[in-house]
């Protein structure tokens, strides 16, 4: 670190010095704790059997079901979650603060509780489900639709929180400028607000999708564990662990790969957007 000055000659920001040990040691522990399990997965993975595992129909079904339900859940969350975030950020209605707190409750609620709660509403004897059954003959629990609903319940708050924050932080005067140009509120939202918050919507959707993909507790409670219809990858992993630990590890690796791919994709997309915005800002300042 003593030769830092030579390297820092052309740099404006001073390089921070070596971390003091009361910070360095816990930091190393934390990093090890987060990384070692992943290493464990890689070490213990039955690499040979993975190809055959992936061609097994039940595994393929679980994987496809997971991807499909997570995607549908994310789409639905976006379509209704962005308007909800707009209302939370922009409306002045009494009780809105309470609503905001309740809407984000699923973030901290144990997912199993969420599943039970969904059953009380949409279960065959639930307060809404009863009528769906009586009048339309529609039963939701233990179907793929139930999987989607469970995932929406636990994951939509991620998107709402992200978009709410972006809308609250956005400069309202752009919307005023649009209004003076003759754009009504809906057009202002569509053509000015949405482009402004697009990065937040995207990152919120990625979080939402990742959370939906990993959803376990609410799904198994509300949708059960039926291969082909409600058995998603996390459920398959859990089930496999009881009679075929190797398969469980392999399936976990698949989920890990999907998650890493999404994370990397979102990161690079985000960096691309940041670079574009940053260069734009730099250009605006420079000239």
């Amino acid at each position: 670190m003593s030769d830092g000055t030579a390297g820092a000659a052309g740099r404006r920001r001073p390089r921070p010095g070596r971390a003091p040990w009361p910070l360095a040691v816990p930091a190393a522990l934390a990093a090890a704790f987060l990384l070692l399990p992943l290493v464990g997965l890689l070490v213990r993975a039955p690499w040979r059997s993975i190809p055959s595992l992936l061609t097994r129909s039940d595994v393929r079904e679980a994987l496809v079901l997971s991807l499909e339900t997570a995607t549908v859940a994310t789409a639905v969350s976006t379509v209704v979650g962005v308007p909800l975030a707009w209302v939370l950020a922009r409306q002045r209605i009494p009780g809105l603060a309470l609503l905001r707190a309740l809407v984000t409750l699923p973030l901290v609620l144990p997912p199993v509780v969420g599943g039970v709660a969904l059953l009380t509403v949409l279960g065959r004897n639930g307060i809404v489900g009863r009528y769906l059954d009586d009048w339309f003959g529609v039963t939701i629990p233990f179907t793929s639709a139930a999987v989607v609903l469970a995932e929406i319940f636990v994951s939509m708050p991620f998107l709402v929180v992200a978009v709410d924050g972006a809308l609250s932080g956005a400069d309202l005067r752009y919307e005023e400028a649009a209004a003076t140009l003759g754009a009504g509120r809906w057009m202002v939202f569509r053509r000015v607000s949405v482009p402004m918050i697009a990065p937040a919507v995207a990152s919120g959707a990625v979080l939402c999708w990742a959370r939906a993909l990993g959803e376990f507790g609410a799904t198994i409670t509300f949708a059960g564990n039926f291969p082909g219809t409600t058995q998603t990858m996390p459920l398959a992993v859990y089930l496999a662990l009881e009679n075929d630990p190797g398969a469980a590890i392999a399936l976990s690796l698949v989920l890990l790969a999907v998650s890493v791919a999404v994370l990397v994709g979102a990161r690079s997309a985000g960096r691309w957007a940041a670079v574009r915005a940053g260069s734009a800002a730099a250009a605006a300042r420079g000239r």
Partner: protein, 443 residues
Amino acid sequence: MTADGPAPRPRPGPAAPTCRPPRPGAPPILPVASGGWPTEEPGAGLDAAVVVERAGFRLDVTLRVAPGETVAVLGPNGAGKTTLLRALAGLVALDSGSVRLGGTVLADAERGVSVPPHGRGVGFVFQDYLLFQHLSALDNVAFGCRARNGLSRRAGRMVARPWLERLGLAEVAGRRPGRLSGGQAQRVALARALAPGPGLLLLDEPLAALDAGTRVDVRAHLRAVLADLAVPSLLVTHDPLDALTLADRVLIVEDGQIAQQGEPVEIARRPRTDYVARLMGLTLYQGVLRGDMVAIDGGGALRVRPSGTVTNGTVTNGTASYDGATNDGATNDAATNDAAGIGEGPAPDGRVLVAARPAAITLHTAMPAAGPEAAVVAARVAGIEPRADGARVALDAEPPVWADLSAAMMAELRLAVGVPVWARISVDALEVYPAARAQDGPR
């Protein structure tokens, strides 16, 4: 396009704004002469009484702006200038009063009418441009046409492109705002406000965010656009130069009230408040005129050119009635007595304002001859503020005096704080006018 029959409700916008390209060969609309209000025609122009109340603040401004007229709104920070524009645009609700544009009621607090901003057909140019970052310069300009007139993307661009060309922006049409310079961005913002054919143009400090060089350029564009504009426009600024060069009329707003209004020349020569005087580089005194002397309120007196109708010919000259005493008190007693003595005659008199030009005031180390055309005041240097080409010297005297000296004079006089000097205040350095507003300027 909608049929332009009798507009039933103020839904589509009062002035029925239509997107149109700029008129390239059209003769510039002549700015309506001062007074601004050519006829009693109620249908034309902006007619507004704006009252907006906030905690500890009240904006109460009544104004009329004729078609083609540009009114500059000048005032210190927090005076309510921007609030005034926002109220006219419908971005702030009126607590009382009304806004009429071209005979259409845009807002009337008593009747509970308020056309929303998007229905007003008012163009707004913001200090920091507020261009939509996700749209190219061309699409920014086309935005209003697409929003207000429902034009297709292509039709909107066809209207927008001539506007960019008119403002010298053809080559940056495809750029995003982030890749425009400040001057370009503000010109795009101007084109964006003009393209939908607004019935009123509001400019909120359009040049404030620009550096000096760019400002000259954008100001020239702005002047050309305003000269050609057939609708009323309001230009908020705190730069007197903008107000004096771009506007047909200037409105001074202080503490939410109109402090003064008039033609630029009038404002520049006869400020009514300290704020305006400072802006124009003048020193303002209040006092009582008797004959050719004004007894200044805080003490002291100034010799002025006898104004208007009256002069009592007997006042031959008071040849610096100050006896060379360095004692300030004595000097001023003498001056006051002198003024009182002269003031026997009938008065054009009464309360007046005196605006002094610091550049026309000279300082001397030896007592100069006053002559009939000047007063000489004993003073002490209270402060020296360096300027580009010399310095402004604040003098402790009765009345307090400010003098602008060239660098050469500064060197010659070797002034320092505390040094006693003589200030010679020529009558030519002073503009004297009644304190009471005859009529509140053109309304």
